[in-house]
């Protein structure tokens, strides 16, 4: 084994070749950081037991640019993103896999920062990364690093959360301020050149979700409004459940800085990505109780009831504007911002 020069070294094609150099990279960069008994099995697959219950699985590829941003980086984001996809079923997240596509020439120091951040996010969430893969592509064929993560989790007995279960009369809740992640990333893009103090909201929501489903098992569905933001996610749910939705703009939490940045750039915060927020739909009778549970949790302090599910054969999402009119909140059109996550 030869020691990697992590401070000055760069990713080379040989690091993906399957030979000794790849083994060095894995041993010195990944294995130590992710260290757990399943990874230590040293096989091409991880073997594990799961607690009883239905198993859920989700995968997510991360291509965010820039790789590092206030509040996180591509590493922590790749852990949070997949854990959140798993837990929106009400599941307890159990294991993660990680696949890396590295670009030749990428600094090993940056890779180490990313891997360490992934490891920290995984440890904090208590969800180990138990298997992985590394490939290297020629310089110019990638953009530093892309990360795919897959997660498995187990749904507690009796919980059936699904996007097709919203019913007219249900309440729509959001766990906090919307648009933080998208505006944070936007502010870093070189062509925009504006400064903001907004941090990405990237975080794993599993403890918030477990508190919510423990107290209100009748929640119809949960979803994290990532790309396309609140607007797109609500349209997805309306479509899946064959219902309409009525929102109230005055109740939707948006930070002043995010509103200002959106104003400046001609964006609508309803369409801006989040990486640490969730939407919950529950029976109206449970709404206040659910809101109280959410607000009692640090990740849901700013939670709010933002609307209700209505009957509508067109499956439209509408919003009463703070101004007093009513308008549609349509699906996202075109591409608002590429490579946000």
């Amino acid at each position: 084994m030869s020691n990697l020069n992590i401070a000055r070294g760069r990713v080379e094609m040989v690091h993906g070749s399957g030979g000794r150099a790849m083994s060095d990279l894995i041993q010195q960069l990944f294995a130590g950081a992710f260290d757990n008994q399943w990874l230590a099995q040293g096989n091409d697959q991880a073997r594990f037991d799961l607690p009883p219950g239905q198993v859920v699985m989700a995968t997510d590829s991360h291509v965010v640019s820039p790789l590092f941003f206030p509040g996180g980086d591509i590493g922590s984001l790749s852990v949070h993103g997949t854990i959140n996809d798993v837990v929106m079923s009400g599941a307890r997240p159990c294991f993660l896999s990680a696949g890396f596509i590295l670009e030749e020439g990428f600094p090993l120091a940056d890779l180490k920062r990313i891997v360490d951040s992934m490891a920290a996010a995984s440890k904090e969430a208590g969800v180990p990364i138990v298997t992985g893969d590394t490939k290297v592509v020629e310089r110019g064929k990638g953009d530093g690093v892309f990360i795919n993560t897959t997660g498995v989790g187990v749904v507690p007995e009796g919980l059936v959360l699904s996007g097709d279960q919203a019913r007219p009369g249900d309440a729509i809740l959001v766990s906090g301020h919307i648009g933080d992640h998208g505006v944070c990333i936007l502010s870093l893009r070189e062509s925009l050149g504006f400064e903001s103090e907004i941090q990405s909201d990237s975080q794993s929501l599993h403890t918030l979700v477990s508190a919510m489903v423990a107290e209100v098992p009748d929640i119809r569905c949960l979803r994290d409004p990532t790309r396309g933001g609140l607007a797109n996610t609500l349209n997805e749910l309306a479509h899946q459940s064959a219902v309409g939705m009525q929102l109230f703009e005055k109740d939707i939490p948006v930070r002043a800085q995010v509103r200002a940045a959106c104003e400046f750039l001609g964006l609508d915060p309803l369409y801006v990505a989040n990486e640490g927020k969730l939407i919950a739909i529950c029976p109206q009778s449970e709404a206040e109780r659910l809101l109280a549970v959410m607000r009692a949790h640090p990740q849901g302090q700013d939670a709010a009831i933002i609307g209700r599910v209505v009957e509508d054969e067109h499956r439209f999402v509408q919003m009463e504007t703070a101004f007093g009119g009513n308008r549609m909140v349509d699906w996202l059109n075109g591409e608002q911002l590429p490579r946000i996550c």
């Binding site: 200002a260 439209f316 509408q318 009119g325 549609m328």
Partner: protein, 382 residues
């Protein structure tokens, strides 16, 4: 948010709306054209039609730069983008507009050409400096608001002596388009019913309120210049109704916090230094309008993409069923178009008015589709 929330206040909106309801006389119809797409957007985004009585009709004007650009000019940009040495850059909305054969700049980019989206023309200049072996062309579109920034970069490029930067100018002029609208055959026959104009916000910050004096004087149409915030729009509607009720006909300025009678003299001087009037320019929907657009002055010919690449004017192929032209002339409503909603949508636009958020079709589709019948009744010409 300071200086914004004040102009979106729901209580004030209800107060102005109830004033409008009181003052709009039941026997009378008020057909008001908002010239600017920015107003169209605000009207729908904030749900203003909900607040107006049935006899106040808003007619959407041609003030959407993406919408009025004829397909031929877009085809010229597509040809430019396909030249291997060119990096073509432009504003985001422009990328999705379908040209002849439904080829958009987005599609051309997918072919492997270098097409970039910009927020500011200054970024085009930076690109040119960073890519000395490439020809960077800024595909410039817009009314008087976006012209000064283009003038700035042309001047800077000249100062820097850049040899690889040029501008494909499609800058157009608001008053010329207002004249054209009032001189269409439909205006003559009475098919176009416009009793007054909600005048542009940002354009007027540059050109001032004086250039609108001719519209009350020559055409008997009052103009109220209004900001882009929803309260501005409501207030302007009330001011127009009052003028029409009183039999007054003048230019009034609701947007006094930003618009003066002579506008931004510095910006105007810079534009005048860099640009000159074209004899004539083709507009989508309005046809060729004399002295309605700007080209670079001969002193700046080195930075004129039309000259540098010896571009020839192209005739675009319009989709024959698309009603964008009549919609831009204010004589048809987006709902009158047989393509509206199926198959023409913002994700699959067949006409330019469905692309830009300032386009009437996109505003109808994105904000107003849920009450199909209601909008049609409210806004179709009586």
């Amino acid at each position: 948010m300071k200086y914004v929330d004040e102009f979106r206040d729901g209580d004030k909106a209800r107060a102005i709306a109830s004033q409008i309801c009181q003052e709009a006389q039941p026997g009378k119809t008020y057909n008001l054209m908002e010239f600017c797409g920015g107003h169209t957007h605000a009207i729908f985004r904030y749900g203003i039609p909900d607040l107006l009585p049935d006899n106040v009709n808003l007619i959407h004007g041609p003030g959407c730069p993406v919408c009025v650009l004829p397909i031929g000019r877009l085809d010229m940009a597509v040809d430019l983008a396909r030249r291997p040495e060119v990096i073509l850059c432009t504003y985001g909305d422009m990328l999705r507009v379908p040209g002849s054969g439904r080829v958009s700049l987005m599609k051309v980019r997918a072919e492997g050409t270098d097409v970039r989206m910009l927020y500011s023309p200054a970024d085009a200049l930076t690109l040119a400096r960073e890519n000395p072996d490439k020809q960077v062309v800024f595909f410039a579109i817009g009314f008087e608001t976006t012209t000064p920034p283009t003038a700035v970069v042309v001047e800077q490029a000249a100062k820097l002596g850049l040899k690889n930067f040029s501008v494909f100018s499609n800058h157009v002029l608001t008053p010329a388009a207002m004249h054209a609208i009032l001189n269409t055959p439909e205006a003559g026959s009475g098919e176009l019913k416009v009793d007054g104009f909600i005048g542009p916000a940002h354009v007027s910050t540059v050109i001032g309120s004086d250039p609108y004096q001719v519209f009350p004087e020559r055409y008997g149409k009052p103009v109220v210049i209004a900001g882009f915030e929803p309260l501005d729009v409501l207030q302007a509607i009330l001011m127009l109704i009052r003028q029409l009720n009183d039999g007054r006909c003048q230019v009034e300025n609701e947007f006094t916090r930003a618009v003066t009678s002579s506008g931004n003299l510095k910006a105007r001087a810079l534009v005048d230094k860099v640009f000159e009037l074209r004899k004539s320019f083709e507009w989508r929907g309005l046809g060729a309008i004399p002295e309605s657009a700007l080209q670079l002055r001969p002193e700046y010919a080195d930075y004129d993409a039309e000259k540098r690449f010896a571009l020839e004017q192209k005739e675009g192929r319009e989709n024959k069923a698309c009603e964008c032209p009549s919609i831009l002339r204010g004589v048809k409503n987006p709902r009158d178009c047989p393509l509206f909603g199926d198959p023409c949508t913002p994700d699959n636009p067949l006409g330019s008015c469905m692309v830009s958020s300032e386009g009437a079709c996109a505003a109808y589709y994105s904000y107003g589709r849920y009450k199909e019948n209601r909008i049609a009744v409210e806004e179709v010409q009586p």
